[in-house]
């Protein structure tokens, strides 16, 4: 038996894992399970031409390839998450041989068991707040600002520029305030929270400026309470928009150890 096979490990569940062959996995030879001392890894034998250290390093900078791996990873994790508590592993976790997967389970045993306990019965929700710059309140024009420009009136120009800057600052302040209040209200209805960096519009393709990109760990019995904490769209100021994603497998809350406890 060739023990030099590379194994991509998607996620860990408590044994006995899924009944029958696990679903998903399109990166290699098909999804399999590796059991060790009460933990089951959902893993797949993958080709060394893509997943050995050097090619993997290169491939991960190819967005199309990264997207394919990300979607496959998510497919396996989400499917497993439909049936049981799942601890997703970091994207592109690759072990050498089935023995390597077992050692990973053994060395990570305490942290995996802690995460399985902590994440049981909870799902992750994503909430983003956007400011639509175009719909922000128009710059407060000084008196006479709607008259045609008078050539040479530097003072009018400066006044107008200052007014625009002030209006923009006010809009920024209002957005930051809304983001803070929204996050505080949602955090009260969540077991834990994580703030992701705001997304760049050019990357997301979503109009507006992203000012809050948060994830909330919500126990299933508390989901109604969490949803109630979301503001109805009509309650938001003009130009502000909330987007909710999920439920997700609790990807953002697998961190264990000293850095844990980002919640309120």
């Amino acid at each position: 038996m060739n023990d030099e096979n590379l194994w991509y490990v998607y996620a860990v569940v408590r044994s006995p894992g899924p009944a029958g062959p696990p679903a998903g996995g399109t990166l290699g030879e098909g999804l399999a399970t590796v059991d060790h001392r009460g933990l089951t890894a959902l893993a797949e034998k993958v080709p060394a031409t893509d997943f050995d250290e050097a090619p993997l390093r290169e491939r991960l900078e190819d967005l199309d390839w990264l997207a394919r791996v990300a979607r496959a990873h998510h497919g396996v994790v989400a499917e497993a998450g439909r049936h049981t508590t799942v601890v997703p592993l970091r994207l592109a976790t690759v072990c050498r041989g089935e023995q390597g997967v077992r050692r990973l389970l053994e060395e990570g045993e305490d942290r995996l068991l802690e995460a399985l306990d902590r994440l049981a019965g909870a799902r992750e929700w994503g909430v983003k707040l956007y400011v639509d710059e175009a719909a922000a309140p128009p710059a407060a024009e000084p008196a006479g600002g709607d008259r045609p420009d008078r050539a040479g009136s530097g003072r009018d120009y400066l006044r107008r520029r200052l007014g625009q800057q002030r209006a923009r600052q006010d809009a920024d302040d209002a957005a930051a305030r809304t983001a803070r209040h929204l996050h505080e209200a949602l955090a009260r209805a969540a077991a834990d929270t994580v703030l992701h960096p705001p997304q760049q519009a050019r990357l997301s393709g979503v109009p507006g400026r992203n000012v809050l990109n948060a994830a909330y760990l919500v126990p299933e019995e508390g989901e109604q309470r969490f949803r109630d904490a979301l503001p109805p769209p009509d309650d938001l100021h003009t130009g502000l928009r909330v987007e909710v994603t999920g439920p997700w497998v609790p990807y953002s809350f697998t961190r264990t150890g000293p850095e844990e406890g980002t919640g309120p």
Binding site: T93, T245, W248
Partner: protein, 61 residues
Amino acid sequence: MTDQREIALVDLLDRLLAGGVVLAGDITLRIADIDLVRVDLKALISAVGENVPSPWRQVNP
């Protein structure tokens, strides 16, 4: 869970690049070892490239 076809790649990458338990063991390489800034940069260039023709592509048919 959510139908993955509806999921925006950028939302997924937020979670997959920052989340997921990081373990030692017999790992050959993990995403944490990769220069994520370069990954982001590459993604950004590619996302922009969909709408804006890149000048250097035209000189290299």
